[in-house]
Amino acid sequence: MNLKQKFSEKGPAFWWTGFAALISSGTIFILFISLVIESIPVFKAQGISFLWGTDWFAGEAYGALPMIFGSLMVTGIAVVMVLPFALGSAILTSEFLSGRLRLMVKAAMELLAGVPGIIYGLMGIALLTVWVRDVFGLIDGNTLFTAGFLLAVMILPTVMTLSEDALRSVPGEFRDTALSLGLTRMEMVFKVVVPQALPGLAGAVFLGVGRAMGETIAVMLVIGGIDRIPQPWFNLFAAGQSIPSKIGREAAEALGFDVQWSALIALGLVLFVMVMTLTSAGNILLRKAR
């Protein structure tokens, strides 16, 4: 049967659903291509120095490095802070909790995942910044650390549920064999199950990182908004700027105003590439685990 015959036999269901499928699968390409096309003006004006320039002044120079640094820094802080809690609860829930308790924890995580970003932002700006300032004796609580802390809470449900799935998908034989060899329950978990689930756990972390990198509103309100790399670079308690936060603050101003708009889109492109790389790596790892 040649191609033409094959297609002419397709009923209306095929074409309508096919159209829908085209939209949903093509969207990500459209996003990427649009980002690239709209970024061209700023790269034309400044070349690749956009990526490592440190000066950002609308109308004059556009350097993305402080924002890239800020994004990496707050994400790093978030991951370090969330890891013990997410992995700890995942291990407990998958290996030690009964069905009902498990469902309750999972329900709690599902609710936590639904909390809107602006609520985190509100809690951050009204409570967390003051708390951070007082507890750490800083002059001001709007820092990279504060943003990282908020992000850690935001990605907790994601990392926890995916890790839990990864752990549960380790086949029962591993557990049975370990126990029959005389290992205690805890030893079985940490020496057998966790290592087996490692790709899945890594995938969970990567996906959490991707989510943390993309968060705009909560970070925007507490990070300080300074387009600068802290001195020294590892000073978590300095104010800084992340990519989504920068875009969020300047987008309204730059709507359609060429080079500045293009610079913001270029920032978006850098973010897109970073997040997509991490998420794809994460998805691959998760699938390997299954």
Binding site: I28, F96, P116, L122, G268
Partner: protein, 283 residues
């Protein structure tokens, strides 16, 4: 107690600690929003218009705006998500293509939402000339929640037992009839839970709509396709920037409480539906 057992117990204790902390976070957030927001809630607050930059009056039109964007997004997204899933399950047979498809949808889910705002504005605001309007917002959010609906519907359709489909084929149903008679009814729970989750996600989104769909004041209900709306999320954002003013903050918390209530009701209903079915499945 020997050493091994002691170690075992300590680690278990630590794990419980971490888990409790994790769940405690939720409790802390709920308690804070409730305690700080409850003072602001009153009949007047919920049904009056906001005045004096949100310091006085209520949040009626903000609630309306959030609902308009949510519902609109779900309405636009549902047919596309449904169609897309059905195409994948009924007409695509090669596992590689299916894998690629899934990858694309999952990738869409990971895109930072501010980028939806940026590109969405280009496409719907500039290209379609809808400008900064509720229509732009609805379309952007519809694209954003597409993966949420897609995944849920897909799972539901995939879990339809094979013999249902085989029965349909044996009766000579065309793909379209198969969809209508067999697949849709059997996957209804996935469609509903997916839509509810999508609504919750749309309600919680600020970044994608803050410069593409909303205005600060002078907006009640949009009266044309190209007018902006005012939403709970952006209202809270505005008030949050006046963090030193206790009146502004109280209203911000109040609006936050309303927003959280909407989102949590949606998620709780979803969890209830899902748990009802899981219990069914375990019988």
């Amino acid at each position: 107690m020997n050493r091994r057992l002691f170690k075992e117990r300590t680690i278990l204790f630590t794990l419980y600690g971490f888990t409790v902390c994790g769940c405690l976070v939720l409790a802390v957030i709920l308690a804070t929003v409730f305690m700080k927001g409850a003072p602001a809630i009153s009949g007047a607050f919920l049904f009056e218009e906001s005045r004096n930059f949100g310091l006085e009056g209520g949040i009626f039109y903000q609630i309306a705006g959030t609902l308009i964007l949510m519902m609109g997004a779900a309405l636009v997204c549902l047919p596309v998500a449904l169609g897309s899933v059905l195409f994948q399950t009924e007409f695509l047979h090669s596992p590689q293509v299916k894998k690629i498809f899934r990858l694309l949808i999952y990738s869409l889910n990971a895109v930072p939402t501010i980028i939806f705002g940026l590109i969405g504005y280009l496409f719907f605001g500039v290209f379609l000339e809808a400008g900064v309007s509720w229509v732009t917002g609805v379309l952007i959010l519809a694209v954003m929640i597409l993966p949420t609906l897609h995944v849920s519907i897909h799972e539901a359709v995939e879990s339809i037992p094979k013999h249902y489909r085989e029965a349909g084929l044996a009766l000579g149903l065309s793909p379209g009839q198969q969809m209508r008679a067999v697949i849709l009814p059997q996957s209804l729970h996935g469609i509903v839970t997916g839509t509810l989750l999508g609504l919750a996600r749309a309600a919680g989104e600020t970044a994608a709509i803050m410069f593409t769909a909303t205005a600060f004041s002078g907006v009640r209900l949009p009266q044309s396709w190209t007018e902006p709306v005012t939403t709970l999320q952006t209202h809270i954002l505005l008030l949050a920037q006046e963090a030193a003013n206790p009146e502004a903050l109280t209203n911000a918390w109040g609006a936050g409480l309303v927003l959280m209530t909407i989102v949590f009701v949606l998620i709780t209903v979803t969890l209830w539906i899902r748990s009802g079915l899981e219990m069914e499945a375990q019988r």
